[in-house]
Symmetry: C2
Subunit: 236 residues, 2 copies
């Protein structure tokens, strides 16, 4: 028995709803189980039960456990990626209150990418299986935190140019921004639960305040251009 289904699924737009919905529920259940049990601990039977399909159907769509795993990782990465950019687009073009805008932005980012089910999945699985599948997660490095990093860096560059921020290493600032947002959150998410709205708000507020204390342009200096104020001594 070859696999006409994979070809059919990819090539033709003739996809049947049944097939597709099975695929989706398998991916969903697999993400759940892989995340909960890890790759070695997850059993195909468990996934099949949770997905509401027979084990054979899984082996039908994905040759073996590893194939399923990589498919799940790619699926979650794509979803996270999409969500990421839709959130980036929500940052106002002309922020009127940088602290409020950045805080709200951090909250959206945290709850849709970081504290998400998908975010949890990626964090856990990259951590535990990253060394075993380097080429798989190298995509995550580039398109996950890598991409959010560069996107954030671009945002900060824009804000710097607009005069609200002042910094010389946008990538560094982006990494630090994310680290600060996570500072208060990781203890919660690591414990396995999702932060409440209030916890999210506080974490974002704390992160943004510190970030702005380090990087906001001197008040009353509507700086244009890239000139550097007397803010920091470029050390060594």
């Amino acid at each position: 028995m070859t696999n006409p289904k994979e070809a059919a699924h990819k090539a033709t737009g003739h996809t049947q709803r049944g097939q597709c919905s099975k695929r989706l529920s398998i991916l969903d259940a697999a993400a759940e189980v892989f995340c909960r049990e890890g790759f070695a601990g997850a059993s195909i039977d468990e996934i099949a039960v949770e997905a509401g399909v027979s084990r054979q159907t899984i082996y039908n769509h994905y040759r073996e456990k590893e194939t399923l795993f990589t498919a799940v990782v790619e699926d979650v990465m794509n979803r996270t990626n999409a969500s990421l950019f839709s959130i980036l687009a929500t940052f106002p073009d002309k922020p009127d209150n940088l602290e409020d805008d950045l805080s709200a932005f951090a909250v959206r980012l945290a709850q849709n990418c970081l504290c998400n089910q998908d975010g949890k999945f990626l964090r856990k699985l990259v951590q535990s299986e990253g060394e075993r599948y380097p080429q798989l997660f190298e995509g995550w490095r580039r398109h996950g935190p890598g991409k959010i990093g560069t996107a954030l860096a671009a945002l900060f560059a824009r804000l710097s140019h607009g005069g609200g921020l002042q910094m010389d290493d946008f990538d560094l600032a982006a990494r630090q921004f994310l680290a600060l947002v996570n500072a208060d959150l990781q203890m919660i998410t690591l414990f396995g639960e999702s932060p409440t709205g209030e916890q999210l708000d506080n974490a974002a507020r704390n992160a943004v305040r510190t970030f702005l204390r380090a990087y906001s342009a001197p008040a009353g200096n509507p700086a244009m251009g890239a000139d550097n104020g007397p803010q920091r001594a470029p050390q060594a």
Copy 2:
């Protein structure tokens, strides 16, 4: 080559040296294998081979796999804890250059607790098995990042009182300090390798610069005052 066997260990009633060294090599090998394979993926046989003992000896010392696992976690936590406090003691009583002293401190912290083999173990295993063994890792929360957090907070309180720093939430500052140090490091450690000395230096330097820009007391302001306004640091 993992046998510091002359270390004085816990006296368990009938202490013989042979027993003790076996115990240590079992714990060592188990830590290695659990870290590499996760709890489910690790096999007792693999650990036995790596430890250079027979499988039966492991079952002799630890009733079952789970017992061994918890013993390993506790062992690693204790080691990390000890290392932590010895490092904390290295921070000078009267720092002459806050940036340099904090950077050097951050480097020591990172390479002895965070990027360590033990640090890697705790990060990975807490992440992947934390939800399954909450009571086990609750100790980690209190004595790991929890304890380092409070110890750091105490340090920052001292520095604030001395006039070098200015902040009103010491615990928050401690969390943020650690987060900033990790900001540049986690991408490296997550990938599985240890950072070079240069990477460590840069990460620490970047973290401390941002931290001080957010929290250093205004120059020429000797001390006191729990109040901190939204001022930034002209530093240098």
